[in-house]
Every structure is written in C-alpha cells, then in structure tokens.
C-alpha cells in the first residue's frame, strides 16, 4: 500500500479512540477491497532501473558523445602526448590545466539540465508517472556517470605526469569542478528562463579565466601549503552542491515553483 495512504489511515484510526472493530466486518472489508482491486484493470509498469536504462537512449547518448570527445582531449592533454610538447605548456602548468579541464567537464551538463523548460516539455513530463524530481535525478545521474569517469581518467593520467602528489591532483580537479557545478546550479535555479544556458557558459568561461589569472598573479595558491584550504573549500562546495540539488528537486515538484528550475 502507498506509504502516505497507510499513515493517513493509521492516523484516522488512532483518532477514533472509542471505535470497536468487529473482526467479521474487518474481514468483509478486506475481501471487498481485494475484489475491488482485482476488478480494476491490471497495469503492468516498469521499475526504476528499467526506466533508467531507457533514458540512456534519450539523455545518455547525446551527453556521453560530448563527454567522449572530452575524454579524447584528456588522453591527448594528459596522456599520450608529452605535455612539454603541447604549445608553450610545461609540466608546471598542470594545476591550471587540470582546473580548466575540470570546468569543461562540468560544462557538459549545461545543455541537458534545463531542457524541459526550454522546450516547453515541462507540463507534459510533470503529469507522467515518473514525476519531475525522479526524471531530473535520472538526468543528473546519467550525466554524473560520464563526469565521474572523465574526472577519474584525468586524475589517473595527470598523476603520472605531475610533479606533485596525487592528492594535489585530485584537489586541482575537484575544486574547480565543484565550483562550476554550484554556479551552474544557482544560475539554473534563479536566472531568467531562456538565458540560463548562456549565463552558465559565460560563468564557466569566466571561471577558467579566473584560474589563469590566479595562476599568473598568485601561483603560490597551487603549492602544497595551500592544500588544506583547497580541501576545505572542496568540502564546502560539495555540501552546497548537495543542498542545491536537493532544493532543485524539491522545487521541481510543482509547476509554479519549478518554472526556472528545469
């Protein structure tokens, strides 16, 4: 039985303190309920894992194609090529390269998160069995799989080239990625509908520019001494991201709240 319905019935029963339940009437009610249930048309419905797999075709294919292209870039940038031979880049530029690449990884989600509102599919999707919060979570999950893979491959490849430890490589990837994700989520929730994609893209490019400026003007932030600060900021951004996703899902359940959200 539906959990909400069960708890409402239990609450209603508790409020009837002087109610005497007849076992015979209870059995009759149970029999009648079963008959009523069985007389309704049986509707076979797929479970969530089957739904998730079917969404791969609609959401996964295009976003994974984009992420696949980035994966090739990762191999080119951090893997097969000697990084010293790439233009004027040198191994000491790896931290800022990792940061910029992480921002581009986050950007792969921009075309896909706000699609429902952009293409006026929101109302139709909201009225279906799956519900918008679950659909949004599915999209985030599918995009997230690709992002996690990209981050992992970049980390592994860069760790073999880096002059600093694996921990630092992880931080140089994670913090810009999390900041980009938090920024895009905030923009998705509050920016004017129709401009979210543009503003998110502009924000991410600004972030990469900021990383370069930081590297040029204050290169010491990329040193080991600042690692605890990077770690703390990563943790803070991760918490903000989780709260942001939770609020986005919560807002998306009703049309008047969700018009910007998705």
């Amino acid at each position: 039985m539906n959990k909400k319905l069960r708890s409402e019935l239990q609450a209603a029963l508790k409020s009837q303190t002087d109610l005497k339940i007849s076992e015979e009437h209870l059995m009759q009610t149970i029999r009648a309920s079963r008959m009523a249930y069985q007389s309704r048309r049986q509707r076979e419905r797929i479970r969530y894992p089957a739904f998730l797999l079917r969404q791969v075709r609609f959401v996964g294919a295009p976003v994974w194609l984009l992420q696949g292209f980035l994966l090739l870039c990762a191999f080119w940038l951090f893997g097969f090529g000697d990084i010293g031979t790439v233009s004027n880049l040198a191994p000491r530029h790896l931290p800022v390269l990792l940061g910029c690449f992480a921002v581009f990884i986050a950007m792969t989600s921009i075309p896909f998160i706000g699609r429902s509102a952009q293409y006026r599919m929101l109302e139709t999707e909201m009225a279906t069995r799956i519900s918008i919060p679950k659909l949004l979570l599915t999209r985030i999950f599918i995009i997230g799989i690709g992002n996690v893979l990209l981050l992992t491959v970049s980390f592994l490849l860069a760790s073999t080239k880096a002059e600093f430890g694996a921990g630092s490589v992880a931080l140089f990837l994670l913090l810009p990625y999390l900041v980009a994700c938090c920024g895009c989520l905030f923009i998705q929730a509050y920016a004017h509908r129709g401009y979210q994609g543009f503003i998110s893209t502009a924000f991410c490019f600004s972030l990469t520019a900021l990383l370069f400026v930081l590297y040029k003007t204050a290169p010491m932030v990329y040193e080991q001494a600042f690692a605890p600060i990077w770690g703390a900021l990563c943790t803070l951004c991760a918490v903000i991201l989780i709260i942001g996703i939770y609020r986005l899902l919560d807002k998306s359940a009703s049309l008047d709240l969700s018009l910007n959200g998705i």
Partner: protein, 296 residues
C-alpha cells in the same frame, strides 16, 4: 469512478485565478467553457496535480491525488494548452520517450504507438521530425501521448486548437468512443466541440464555476433570448452597438440576416429562434467573442 474537486482555490500575488471551485466529475465527456483568463488552465493544472492549490483538494475515488501520487498519474492523461517537443525527436521518438516516462513496458509500447498513430492518422509521418509537422499534426501527436497509458482520466486543454474541421470531427469521434467508462475533461473556446460530444458542461468565469449542467439544460437558459431578424445592410452598424450579434449572413436585395441575443426583440421583424450553446457563451461573456466554427 469519481473525480471530486473540493473548494479549490489558487491565489497569486495580484490575482485569484481559481476561486473556491467545487465540481464532481463522473464518467463521460465534460466540457469546461470560459473566456480567456477565466481560470480554466489553472484549474486543469491543479486537477492534473502539477500545480499546488492555495487551498482545497482534488480527490480520486475519495482519496486525495497528492496522497495517491504515482498511482494517480498512472491512470491520468494530460495535454496542456502550450506544449513543445525536443527538437531532435521524431513522432515515434517522442511517443517512446513519453511511454518510458509513463512507465509502460517496451513490448506494449510499440503496439500502442502503432494503434494510436493509425487512429490519429499519423502513421505516414511517424519517422518525421515533429518540428517539421503542421500545427494540427503536432496537436495530434500531443493527443497521442495523452492516450498512451490508456488513462481512466483524460484532461485536454484546448485540444482542437489548430485542427481543421475534418480533423476536429475525427477527434470528437475518437473521444466519444474513448469516454465510455472514463472521465474526459476538455477545456475549449470552440463551443461546437463540446456541444456535440459533452455530456455535461461547466462554465467558468472570473475563476468561478457559474453553471454546471447538460448541454440541453444550459441551452434552455437562452429560451426566448435568441432572435433572428432581417435588416438593410447599412443599418447593421447601428444595431451592433445595441444588441449582441451572434452571426450575420448576407441576403438578397442588400439585406442581412442577423442572429442576436437580447432580453427582448430589438430588430424589426425579429423572430425567436432555437438557441445554441454558442448563444449562451456570448450571453455570459459579453466582452468576448466565442470562436465561431462552422457546424459540420
């Protein structure tokens, strides 16, 4: 099967879109008539469960739809007034996508899609991109998605907008067949759409339901208020300022035949004539024109 709307209200900062509406929907076709801004779409969105009411509730067979959750959306089909498509979708892609959102098993989906495409004469365009179809065809694709899960409750907001008369007749026939043992709620400006298929109609004005009855009983309200008179064409302009003109037809000899609604006969040689639902619409919504569609 019963869908009960109880004292439903939706208030925004500057306006009350739906004001304490109560209605009980039983199996059959229900028409929801009203002018622009009457609150029809807001009401339908609340019944669809996608808009949170300020107060009141919607119950399906005695249980609030909020409590039913997925179970309600399972038996529900909805076509919004303004809907779109992802640009890369063909007709089949879109229906398969919607079928997956409705949780339909894959083996049933293809059969159902074929059936609906034939019923709505979309079989020839199944592989075409939706953005390349005409407005009427896009509307039929929208109707198809609403019917995918064989719903017990079907809510259609302006479903025939953009359809030509032949398509509207076909649509009416599909709906009439579908509505046996099901609840169908159609909101429309096109009075003739509900006049021929709706068992009962609810008329909405300024966020409130002002009348609920069968088409015949509603039309009876206009007994003695609908007139037909013939006047010289040059006098039409004068009378248009004094009576509510329903239709004008050119006659021989420079005259025009005027159908109008008024408490009493206002044109010379007028005769009372049998009222239609369209006359009631014009009588109730004096500031609005009903969409006059040819009766086919």
């Amino acid at each position: 099967m019963e869908l009960t709307i109880q004292e439903l209200t939706k208030r925004y900062k500057d306006k009350t879109a739906v004001n304490n509406v109560s209605l009980t929907l039983t199996p059959g076709v229900w028409g929801l008539l009203g002018a622009n801004g009457a609150g029809k779409t807001t009401l339908m969105r609340m019944v669809a469960g996608i808009l949170t009411p300020t107060s009141g509730k919607v119950q399906y067979d005695g249980i609030e739809i909020k409590t039913l959750g997925e179970a309600y959306r399972d038996v529900f089909g909805y076509l919004p007034q303004n809907f779109g498509f992802y640009p890369e979708f063909t007709v089949t892609d879109y229906l398969q996508y919607m079928a997956s959102l409705k949780g339909l098993p894959k083996k049933d989906t293809n059969l159902k899609i074929d059936e609906l495409l034939h019923q709505l004469t979309l079989a020839d365009v199944r592989s075409k991109h939706i953005r390349k179809l005409s407005g009427g065809m896009q509307r039929r694709v929208g109707i198809a998605q609403a019917l995918l899960n064989d719903p017990d409750i079907l809510i259609l907001d302006e479903p025939t907008s953009g359809l030509d008369p032949g398509e509207r007749i076909r649509f009416r026939n599909i709906l009439s067949e579908f509505a046996q043992q099901r609840i169908v709620l159609i909101s429309t400006h096109i009075v003739s759409d509900v006049e021929y298929i709706a068992n009962r109609n609810a008329i909405m004005k300024d966020g409130k339901i002002i009348a609920v009855d069968t088409t015949d009983e509603l039309v009876k309200m206009m007994d003695g208020k609908v007139w037909q008179g013939t006047i010289p064409a040059e006098q039409l302009h004068h009378y248009e300022r004094t009576v509510r003109v329903v239709s004008v037809r050119n006659e021989d000899g420079g005259n025009v035949s005027v159908r109008y609604v008024a408490e009493n006969s206002s044109l010379p040689n007028s005769q009372a004539t049998a009222p239609r639902l369209e006359d009631l619409y014009l009588w109730l919504f004096r500031g609005e024109e009903a969409v006059k569609e040819d009766v086919v």
